[in-house]
């Protein structure tokens, strides 16, 4: 008898608990992301506060790990167990893969209301939409074809930002002759690939880039142009210091900041390192496009993918999507992050010189159709192909492999991974 009462009591209590949880969840978004570092976390707070004003609680689910691999693993487990988060941070082709799984929400109403189709560049929409449906809200656009240079060294040697690859080599020679490390670089596969993005673009132009790295056209991959790309990678290799292998990218940035090295080829997240060190654009450091790639932008874009959630959470999810693409948030977040807004109609008033340039370049490239996904950062080819390319690029950069051999291996690796 007593036992029966106990069971009944426990049953009632748990029903009450579930009900209470549902009441709380009415205005709740749960967001999975890997923005755990100081500046990024600060930027996210803008979004949190914005939603809190609308009465929506933000439940943070940070999973540390720069590339988001750990976050993806957590996400897979959560979706498999039927308990997806409201939204999850994601990059490039992963978004499409999740779209194919049929577990994502459809944001078309919000997109129509907010005019997303007309303000977000088509190259980015290609990732945000699956099968004609908006499934993700882009937060920012990073681009990889940047060079960050120490202005003091440039002034001392009377250098100006070069405009083509040969000019770049001349500048690097001058820096070397003056006793500085010409190129600050960290020998990790993804960093080697970041150089590769720019070298392909400057050597073959946007059409070749599209053919070789996005369409994965075998003829383009085996072409003489690609051979020249690898020869140029070898040239750049001769300008890095002896201890480059395994160095993290932010330590390479520090070498430029401290005046040990002349320049670094890196995406615009490097700007954050310069700003955190108290450096000012065009006073302490220069930001310019990789020589010969002005007018094109190789991008990667962080997006929040929205998952199918119960009706009780759908409303809050829509508000979240709206808030992510609101011009105020786009501006506030990207000022902190070093990237540029994912929509081209945001005012650049709050941005520094590099940010303003980035926004102008993005608009120009989007209009000209030269806004192309970065191979190094998973916006040109799916993960399997991207990593197969990494293997060849990093093996070539870190050994004395000939350019012919590298071309042959690259074409083979891409074919094998498709």
């Amino acid at each position: 008898m007593n036992l029966k009462k106990l069971v009944a009591a426990v049953g009632c209590a748990s029903i009450a608990l579930i009900a209470a949880q549902n009441v709380q969840a009415a205005g709740k978004v749960e967001v999975l992301h890997w923005w755990t570092s100081g500046g990024e976390a600060k930027a996210l707070n803008v979004l949190k506060d914005d939603l809190q004003k609308k009465g929506i609680t933000w439940e943070d689910m940070p999973v540390a790990g720069g590339g988001g691999e750990a976050a993806m693993t957590v996400l897979r487990a959560r979706v498999a167990s039927g308990n997806p988060p409201t939204a999850a941070q994601m990059l490039g082709f992963d978004i499409q893969d999740w779209g194919a799984q049929g577990v994502v929400a459809n944001l078309n109403d919000v997109a129509r209301e907010e005019n997303w189709d007309n303000v977000i560049p088509a190259a980015i929409q290609r990732f945000s939409k699956y099968d004609g449906k908006w499934i993700a809200a882009p937060v920012n656009v990073h681009s990889t074809n940047w060079i960050w240079a120490n202005k003091k060294i440039f002034d001392e040697l009377g250098l100006t930002p070069p405009t083509d690859f040969d000019g770049m080599v001349k500048a690097l020679d001058k820096i070397k002759a003056a006793g500085y490390i010409p190129l600050a670089h960290g020998g990790q596969a993804w960093q080697d690939a970041t150089l590769f993005d720019s070298v392909v673009m400057t050597t073959g132009g946007p059409e070749f880039y599209q053919k070789a790295l996005i369409d994965l056209d075998q003829d383009a991959l085996k072409s003489d142009t690609m051979k020249q790309v690898f020869e140029r990678m070898r040239i750049l290799r001769s300008y890095v210091d002896d201890n480059f292998s395994g160095r993290d990218w932010n330590l390479a940035s520090a070498m430029v900041i401290d005046g040990k090295a002349g320049m670094q080829i890196m995406g615009d997240w490097a700007k954050g390192e310069f700003l955190n060190a108290g450096k000012k654009p065009n006073e302490d450091f220069l930001c310019f496009r990789f020589p010969g790639t002005q007018g094109t932008v190789t991008f990667n874009s962080d997006q929040f993918v929205m998952f199918k959630v119960g009706d009780d959470r759908a409303e809050a999810q829509k508000e979240l999507a709206k808030a992510i693409l609101s011009p105020t948030f786009q501006s506030a977040f990207n000022v902190v992050k070093g990237s540029v807004p994912a929509r081209t109609d945001v005012s650049d008033a709050a941005f520094d010189a590099c940010g303003k340039k980035g926004m102008a370049d993005l608009k120009e490239a989007a209009d000209k159709g030269t806004l192309l996904g970065s191979m190094a950062h998973g916006h040109a080819a799916p993960a399997a192909v991207k990593n197969a390319m990494y293997d060849v690029i990093t093996a070539h950069f870190n050994s004395d492999m000939s350019a012919e051999e590298a071309v042959k291996q690259l074409a083979g690796a891409v074919a094998g991974a498709q």
Partner: protein, 297 residues
């Protein structure tokens, strides 16, 4: 009747107490081994799928240059790691066994590296071997300018750095195993040998070391499976670099399963690794169990 019940309870109690953990092991170890094997026959990419494609993943796996590199590295790393650990461990154990003073102090000193995790070992050795801050840098500071030690930065030698760090970590443990073995040897035998005029060298070569055969076997089994599943040390020490020079099967399996969205190929490599470990462990267990049977009969 009462008695019978109590006896039954007494017999069943240990089994009842152990059954939850047994069930957990069955599901989470053996269940998932079966599941991984199943996945290796499917075309799983980013998500697990149920389309069976036969042995295709294994064919792809053995056509991948990366996998061959990982196997070659495992051969170099595993071979040297086991060999050096056993030799060094035996050598240290024999020295410690000479009834020296301060043995109680020296033994833990050699054993302590075992207490740090491979992540810590990897990170510490990464700094120590780095030419710009580690050994080479210190030597230059002390005025030995021609000293170079750049193994960790060179594609062809980086794998030997992994060996150095792993040996530092494990040889003390092997030493402890051999020391226990040496302590178990009957002194009478050694005395008899001494009376017969055997030199210390011969005594060790002809009597002591052959008597340590079971310890050799245990050391080999422990070290071999550690070598095959080495993952954290590589990640901390070289992260598979320079280039892909220090890729091992375990890092290969992780990257293909979780970062390259080729779960099928990753699962196939995991199965191959399991088979390799099983090929070492199963005969060992079999011989161990058979010996026990002998003792009983």
């Amino acid at each position: 009747m009462q008695n019978y019940q109590r006896d039954w309870l007494q017999r069943m109690l240990p089994r009842l107490a152990l059954s939850p953990s047994l069930a957990v092991i069955l599901v989470f170890v053996y269940g998932f081994i079966v599941y991984t094997s199943y996945l290796s026959f499917t075309n799983s990419k980013m998500f697990a799928s149920t389309d069976l494609i036969g042995l295709e993943n294994y064919v792809r796996l053995f056509n991948l240059p990366n996998w061959h590199l990982a196997l070659k590295n495992l051969g170099i790393f595993g071979g040297l790691y086991i060999l050096i650990c056993v030799c060094l461990g035996l050598f240290l154990a024999i020295l410690l066994d000479q009834k020296i003073r301060g043995e109680g102090l020296i033994r833990p000193v050699y054993l302590y590296p075992m207490a740090v995790s491979f992540i810590v070992t990897g990170t510490a050795w990464k700094w120590f071997l780095d030419p710009s801050i580690g050994l080479e840098h210190v030597m230059h500071l002390w005025g030995w300018d021609s000293f170079t030690f750049r193994w960790i930065k060179e594609t062809n030698t980086a794998i030997y750095c992994v060996v150095i760090a792993a040996v530092w970590q494990s040889s003390g443990f092997v030493m402890a195993m051999f020391l226990a073995g040496l302590r178990g040897i009957d002194n009478e035998v050694l005395k008899a040998a001494q009376v017969d005029g055997a030199s210390p060298y011969h005594m060790y070569r002809r009597i002591v070391i052959p008597m340590l055969r079971p310890v050799f076997l245990s050391a080999f089994v422990v070290l071999a499976h550690m070598a095959i599943k080495s993952y954290d040390l590589i990640i901390a020490l070289t992260n598979g670099g320079p280039g892909r020079a220090t890729e091992l099967p375990a890092t290969f399996m992780y990257s293909y399963t979780f970062t390259r969205n080729q779960m099928g190929v990753g699962a196939a490599s995991a199965v191959i690794m399991l088979m390799t470990v099983a090929a070492i462990i199963v005969p060992y267990l079999y011989s161990e169990l058979r010996e026990r049977q002998h003792e009983r009969n």
